[in-house]
Symmetry: C2
Subunit: 141 residues, 2 copies
């Protein structure tokens, strides 16, 4: 994947913003009309103000830990003013001394639109598969 690929660039920006707990940098990755099917607790988030609230709450809850994001099996396609990608994601929480405290995996789909100011994430879908018998999320791949 070329480093100028819009999906690769968005994933790198996501990783950096989460590591830095930087709400502004995080929100700069997204279209004002962002639509998200997020893995946790709500059926959807619509618009950047709602998504900023999610990020503020998330980053504010991290305390002096850090959240390290790793992507694998990244796929990307671009045509015209649309790009899409999918990947597996691993989130790990690190203590201030770098010790890994816990981790989980999920699945990510991104759709980006090319705007005047560059590529922005217009739609994001994260999930974990559901075990049919227990109806519980499978959080370790």
């Amino acid at each position: 994947m070329h480093p100028n690929d819009p999906v690769t660039a968005a994933l790198a920006g996501y990783r950096a913003a989460v590591l830095a707990k930087d709400v502004d940098a995080f929100c700069a990755l997204y279209d004002p009309d962002i639509h998200v099917f997020d893995m946790w607790g709500r059926w959807q988030h619509q618009g950047l103000a709602a998504w900023r609230d999610m990020a503020s709450g998330w980053f504010g809850s991290v305390g002096d830990e850090r959240v390290v994001v790793e992507f694998s099996e990244v796929h990307s396609s671009v045509s015209g003013d649309l790009a899409f990608g999918h990947a597996f994601v691993r989130f790990s929480a690190e203590a201030a001394d770098g010790t890994e405290l816990r981790s989980l995996n999920n699945r990510l789909t991104l759709v980006l639109k090319r705007q005047a100011e560059g590529w922005k994430i217009a739609h994001e879908h994260t999930s974990a598969p559901i075990d049919h018998a227990s109806c519980k999320a499978m959080l370790q791949r």
Copy 2:
């Protein structure tokens, strides 16, 4: 949404193929290289042969019931040879006499690519949100 929109057409084809339990009609909607993050039990499905196995197993398990699929809050965008859409989905099981037996909701993202033979679904992501406290899927919206 225009009825010739590729996302709208794919959703209509999906609904019809599931109602008819028609594996060939279902598979005709998909790209040979289809990649799916499906809601149930597995981290991913890759390629139409694997996806056909899923459909055969699903349709074969339905017996003399029917599965009725309804989409709501459908969004669609097209640029170049890529299209994407997202929607809420309601699956209901009907007895042979038309009585609704049970239902569940989920969330769907589709990415389509324009091929020589028309638009085909290249990536599909379905999920339900996960309740943070119980780690259980929320199956009713």
